[in-house]
């Protein structure tokens, strides 16, 4: 055997068994057959929590994610998938990571200029970003990790076409004819809690309302169709750059 081949064989023999890079496609197959019953076929939750988010509650890092997949959560409902090989666990982990995070894209706009557009247009009067601003609309601190540039662009141009999940604009009419419009903060079978654009909370009992409209196709956010296309590109690039990192 030539020396090179011997060295290569030795190197192979000494390599850790899990050296092969994780295979997200294999991870997806395993996820869909082993994990989806609870976490949903698309990972957006069901009996178990949604995994389609940038940060997962029980897993600060990659090792923790693999450990949770392999061993489950002690005292919790999630069983471990001890039947998977280390490489399969790594592949499932890679797939789970891909669920919650949008990959950074090359975009035409300039994030620095976009930050100025954000300020100039008063976006902070409705949104919070790294703790600054006003909590009426969704928090944008890590919106770039959760949303694609196409989604961000659409939500700026036509906000009603791109609602975050569980975000609903409602209008309630009380028995004395008072109209309350705002974001549904919470709801159960008997009551609804609404936050209006002045950030006032309204606690209403449904049996005391004359009408309750769920405005599935309306958004309190103005559309920014009128932005110059360069400004729009810049704003999208800025929002896409918001990935929750300090």
């Amino acid at each position: 055997m030539p020396l090179l081949s011997v060295l290569a064989a030795l190197a192979l023999a000494q390599a850790p068994v899990n050296e092969a890079p994780p295979d997200p496609a294999q991870g997806q197959r395993l996820f869909e057959s082993q994990c989806a019953l609870c976490h949903g076929q698309d990972g957006r939750g069901g009996r178990g929590p949604s995994l389609a988010r940038p940060r997962l509650k029980h897993v600060p890092d990659e090792a923790a994610l693999r450990s949770v997949i392999r061993n489950g959560i002690e005292g919790g409902e999630m069983p471990g998938a001890w039947q998977l090989s280390p490489h399969e666990v790594a592949s499932v982990a890679a797939y789970v990571r891909s669920l919650g995070t949008v990959r950074a894209e090359a975009l035409p706009g300039d994030p620095g200029r976009g930050a100025k557009v954000y300020q100039a247009r008063g976006c902070g009067s409705c949104h919070i970003l790294r703790g600054e601003g006003t909590g009426f609309g969704p928090d944008l601190t890590e919106v770039g990790a959760r949303r694609s540039a196409a989604y961000l662009r659409q939500s700026l141009v036509n906000p009603a076409a791109a609602f975050p999940e569980d975000f609903l604009y409602v209008e309630a009419v009380t028995s004395d004819g008072r109209k309350i419009r705002g974001i549904r903060v919470n709801e159960d079978s008997f009551t609804i809690q609404i936050k209006d654009s002045n950030r006032m909370f309204h606690s209403l009992r449904k049996d005391q309302l004359r009408e309750l409209h769920k405005l599935f196709h309306e958004s309190p956010m103005p559309g920014y169709q009128a932005l110059a296309s360069g400004e729009l590109d810049d704003l999208v690039a800025y929002l896409a750059s918001l990935r929750g990192e300090p």
Partner: protein, 523 residues
């Protein structure tokens, strides 16, 4: 000594004796709640009349009991002023007037125990004579002295390392304690067991998946039956005259990939009627042959004596996870009627024998197939209720569709074996309801809509009320005849449990578990 204290002492001294005859005649002692469903017929109906549509709005919390585990599913028992509660690996006797512990019992959870496809939960205990019977997640049936919590015996039912767990409340009948098993997502082979109440000796086992040579085995191919599922995780009912036990059987394994287990897959998704002395199968009725949507028929069978088609009949009713309400003759299992009670898009209807006329292409697929109901069903394990006074069958409904996916299924002992999954239509695309059906026709008489699909059972009362709960924490009372909401209380946690009712100091109380607490209400 003050009178109240005297009464308490008297009650506790006489407590915890529940001979079979008392459970049999539960209708004559509505001050107690002696078995999982309140009576052997599975009615979850209280004959107490103090709470009425006129006064229920004055209900208040009397006391609260705190558990360590979330999403408590316990249905308490109450015997002579003592309430018996369970949680995973835990049982307690508490003073029903104050909620104070009289004793507690715990069993450690093995470090390597996994619950595969369901929550770590326990739905309640059974009592017979002076003994309380509790199942554990690590598959033991434990007998406890009802007055001290001391362990009398411990019977191993199954092996948790293969995915078996006990979450179900046992059923105690004359001299025997019956228990079922969870594990339908792990490719177990399900069973119903009976143990001698005094000793813990196993008297019989009915395998829900018939083995070679047994009738029904021909509905399986090759060795598929060995991982065929058929769990039995909801408490059955009992007809003492027929001496038959009725028990619901869960989904086949793997859940969503039917290609690898051709055939009807008996007795999955069925009710079975078993001779209480021998465990021998008297009849079966399969609601969903060759199920691929995880529609367990693990429901409390509701036994109704009523006139049907002009003559008195012994009936058995079921609002099934598959979206249909069924009425059968419980002496023979003969199908009498079936009609949808929830939105369903998988069957055109049922034929004259009750077999579904399945709509083509409604099975889970590689790309996904949208079907109502979701895999959690039109209803689920939580109890329905039957009121002999209104003749109505009350059921908590989940109106939710799902996209079902089929995936490969490779059996490895003690691991997930689902063969697919679903993406349920969540948020505002789904809702819940409490519906009242005329029991003998299945016709809807009223409904009360819920914000979201619920996990809470219902209880009707002779006072004319139906109690129910929501996933958002509402515990509420409806008018049993009209469905009108009369009272509601925000408990602060999801309600995934069944209500019960009993007397304390001669006054009617209602109890419900909500997340980590049990609340007791009274006027």
């Amino acid at each position: 000594m003050r009178p109240a204290l005297l009464l308490l002492c008297a009650c506790l001294a006489a407590s915890a004796q529940a001979p079979y005859e008392r459970i049999l005649n539960s209708a004559s002692q509505p001050e107690n709640w002696l078995t999982y469903s309140g009576n052997y017929q599975g009615h979850r109906f209280s004959r107490l009349r103090q709470l009425t549509p006129e006064n229920v709005s004055r209900l208040q919390v009397k006391w609260v009991y705190q558990f360590r585990n979330p999403r408590t599913e316990v249905s308490p028992l109450v015997v002579d002023g003592v309430m018996y509660l369970t949680a995973p690996q835990f049982a307690a006797a508490v003073d029903a007037r104050t909620g104070r512990n009289l004793w507690t019992w715990e069993r450690p959870l093995p470090a390597d125990l996994q619950t595969i496809g369901f929550d770590r939960t326990n739905r309640g205990a059974a009592i017979l004579d002076g003994t309380l019977y509790v199942g554990t997640l690590d598959d033991h049936l434990i007998a406890l002295d009802a007055k001290s919590g001391a362990q009398r015996w411990d019977a191993q039912v199954a092996d948790y390392r293969l995915g078996h767990c006990i979450t179900v409340a046992p059923l105690a009948i004359r001299g025997k304690v019956l228990i079922g098993i969870s594990g339908g997502e792990a490719g177990i082979r399900g069973f119903v067991d009976a143990y001698e109440a005094r000793t813990g000796r196993r008297l019989w086992r009915f395998w829900t998946i018939p083995g070679p040579g047994q009738p029904g085995h021909e509905t399986w191919r090759g060795d598929d039956w060995k991982t065929g599922g058929g769990s039995t995780w909801v408490t059955g009912s009992y007809d003492p005259e027929l001496n038959l036990v009725f028990w619901g059987v869960g989904n086949p394994g793997p859940d969503m990939n039917g290609d690898v287990r051709p055939g009807d897959n008996l007795y999955t998704c069925s009710f079975v009627a078993l001779d209480a002395d021998t465990g021998k199968l008297r009849w079966h009725f399969q609601f969903t042959p060759h199920d691929t949507h995880d529609w367990d028929s693990t429901h409390v069978p509701v036994l109704i004596d009523a006139t049907f088609a002009g003559r008195p009949r012994k009936l058995i009713a079921n609002a099934n996870r598959n979206g249909f309400y069924y009425l059968l003759d419980r002496t023979s299992g003969k199908f009498l009627l079936g009609t949808p009670y929830a939105k369903q898009t998988w069957a055109e209807g049922l034929d004259e024998r009750g077999r579904p006329r399945v709509i083509p292409n409604t099975e889970p697929s590689e790309k996904g197939t949208l079907v109502w109901p979701s895999l959690q069903g039109g209803t689920n394990w939580f109890s329905p209720s039957y009121s002999p006074e209104t003749g109505l069958f009350y059921v908590a409904v989940r109106e939710m569709g799902a996209v079902y996916y089929k995936r490969e299924a490779n059996y490895k002992p003690g691991t997930f074996f689902p063969g697919g999954g679903e993406t349920a239509l969540s948020g505002d695309r789904a809702r819940g309801a409490v519906r009242a059906l005329e029991a003998t026709t299945g016709k809807r008489v009223w409904e009360f809509l819920l914000h979201r699909p619920t996990w809470a059972g219902v209880m009707a009362t002779a006072g004319g009320l139906v109690f129910g709960g929501s996933d958002e924490g509402n515990f509420f009372a409806l008018d049993a005849r009209t469905g009108k909401p009369l009272w509601d209380f925000q408990t602060g946690g999801p309600i995934t449990a069944n209500p019960v009712s009993f007397l304390v100091d001669g006054k009617q109380c209602v109890a419900i578990a909500a997340d980590r607490v049990l609340l007791v209400f009274g006027l």
